[in-house]
Subunit: 149 residues, 2 copies
Amino acid sequence: MENIFDDTYFMKKALQEAEVAFNKGEIPVGAVIVIDNKIIARAHNLTETLTDVTAHAEMQAITAAANYLGGKYLKKCTLYVTLEPCQMCGGALYWSQISNIVYGARDEQRGCINLNTKLHPKTVVKGGVMAEEAAQLMRRFFVEKRNLN
Amino acid sequence: MENIFDDTYFMKKALQEAEVAFNKGEIPVGAVIVIDNKIIARAHNLTETLTDVTAHAEMQAITAAANYLGGKYLKKCTLYVTLEPCQMCGGALYWSQISNIVYGARDEQRGCINLNTKLHPKTVVKGGVMAEEAAQLMRRFFVEKRNLN
């Protein structure tokens, strides 16, 4: 039997979160954290709603997943996030010792890869999963925002 | 008349927060955020208490200060923190566009300076304010922790 719980399956869930952010007027980034094929945290960017630069999707997902697990380390978890994490989120993921990070679109300017953010040596990173869908949502957001101003 | 509101004055307040953390069994790091000589946020490390790697003193202070100001940017603010910020906190401070960061002790291993975390181009950083007091508190914490285990 085919395993439906692949990277695309979970990235679609993260994209759904990004769409929720979009509909709130937030930069559309969504994230889920998964352990043993089970989603234990869902979050989307809320920096405008909460007036808080720290309210990125990943940060909220890390907090929620640790709360669910009752421990602060996310050693057997995978984060799915629609956009490559920034330095702040990369730094938080370093502390969390998360096993896997799967992101959608690259963020050449502010993403942790080009900024050389140090991740935990045991963390495996994979990019480009549904990248076009994630990037398209971002582009649509900024086009609409420009037209409104 | 002498201005009592110098860096040492505010770093002492951050050290008081670090001591609160110490007494809770938390790695003793404290922070305050100041605008126009007024403290608008006080926080200390709560990663153990909250079971949350994101609960560094600086992160909480950034959230609290933005909440106080009613805006997410901390453009005219100064952060006083007893230990050099890590990548996560440095990344959050980048987003906050904070004017000044004043830290106490260096963190050679995990601090944002040696890890080359990108700060906002307008952020001015000053280190070494009451560094010995901050470092001493850290050392005392790790010695006591070792003796307890």
